[in-house]
Point group: C2
Chain length 267, copies 2
Amino acid sequence: MSAGPPTVESVLALRDRAVRDATGRFFVEGVRFVITADREGHAIDALVVAPDLLHSAVAEQLVARRRRTGTPVLDVDDAQFRALSILGEPQGIGAVVRQRWVPPSALRDPHHNALWIAAGAVRSPGNLGTLLRTADAVGADGLLCLSPVVDPHDPRVVRATMGALFAQHVCRVSPAQLREANRYGALFVVGATPDADLDYRALSYRRPIVLMIGSERDGLRADERALCDAVVRIPMRPHCDSLNLAVAASLVLYEAYGQRHPARRRR
Amino acid sequence: MSAGPPTVESVLALRDRAVRDATGRFFVEGVRFVITADREGHAIDALVVAPDLLHSAVAEQLVARRRRTGTPVLDVDDAQFRALSILGEPQGIGAVVRQRWVPPSALRDPHHNALWIAAGAVRSPGNLGTLLRTADAVGADGLLCLSPVVDPHDPRVVRATMGALFAQHVCRVSPAQLREANRYGALFVVGATPDADLDYRALSYRRPIVLMIGSERDGLRADERALCDAVVRIPMRPHCDSLNLAVAASLVLYEAYGQRHPARRRR
């Protein structure tokens, strides 16, 4: 994109995965989201502002500061902003943000409490976003996108993260690249699958962990499962067969968090 | 409804909350869902079948058995079924099912492992359905709808439960009725709210429990919170402020499940 403000059309085009991939940009809307992107140091190419829809002093200050420091601002009217928005009640502020990917080498030499989520072909943007929101809550490092179908910059994913995307690393890595990055076994790879024998609470997470999640429908693929050092299941009552994917992943993430940060005694 | 098969229009009308409330019926579609409704003994007023879309021997057997035993069957073509469906790939089978509510008196004399979820004004059908799915996985008793906005028979809610709705009780109960039903304190009411002091893992759930959940945006209302014997929070890393509602509730439900069904030793 050029140094001037973008056009409404070019922002709208970012709804398209192919355009996001080609430009390396994505559009994020909402006060909370733009403030978080700014605070977490993401590169904001441009802001999009509909003054009549924007009722947030903090966001208005951000816009004024960004105008002063040279960030291009596309001023639009209500109808134009609504056309860009996926929300019923748009908040009148959005940003074109540069995607920030880390390379697979970021997985090398993990710290003691490293915690990555590796996602196979997760189909639901809501599930992926919710998963990232929990990942951020437990202080995870980020998301490894094992499958090309996973796009953390999809506007519906970003929405479901509630801004957590901006505090998480994202890394596109094939199963083969993950195997290579982890060739010395510094990361312990845990797969979650209903057909595992091991109760997820019976594993120690007090080591660098990659939690691997398959697709909603098919679970872990063979090449994903082959990377796992252990596979765990979430126990449930008899004859019950499944949990929502983001819930299942969140339970494992919180088990890891709980083992690393034990609660005080019960009362 | 009459004893004959319903019309397409009357089934379509069940998308409307007011029609569901007035008729006490709801429409559920999909092989897994209809089979579960049948297996769990729900009253099926009528089946809706599009033979060209239905590719499940088990579902076809169910239809044949139901035809023999007098359940009205509305035979429709693909286009008619697609008009009734909320899915991209409809499976050609649906059922008009009677809503099955239990009265607030069902809360009296709870068993030792009683576990109910009480929902305030939860807005997202996906959240409510996901919550019910986890409730079923941990063997909970059911859902208390504290707020009139909560409709467990909304097709989007039913969808997100993946059929778990049919194995859970549902009860419409105001906060005042809940207080009355629990006047001897047999149920321990736990509210989940980010501003609580008590870590959710530091509470004992080895007693009859009601887990109370507020709305996504506003959390617990004052009259809901006033019913709580304890309020708990989910710990998270500093500066992180929230989890998805269904994830937060699922974590508490699994903490209860875990205390009631401890895992074997870690390895």
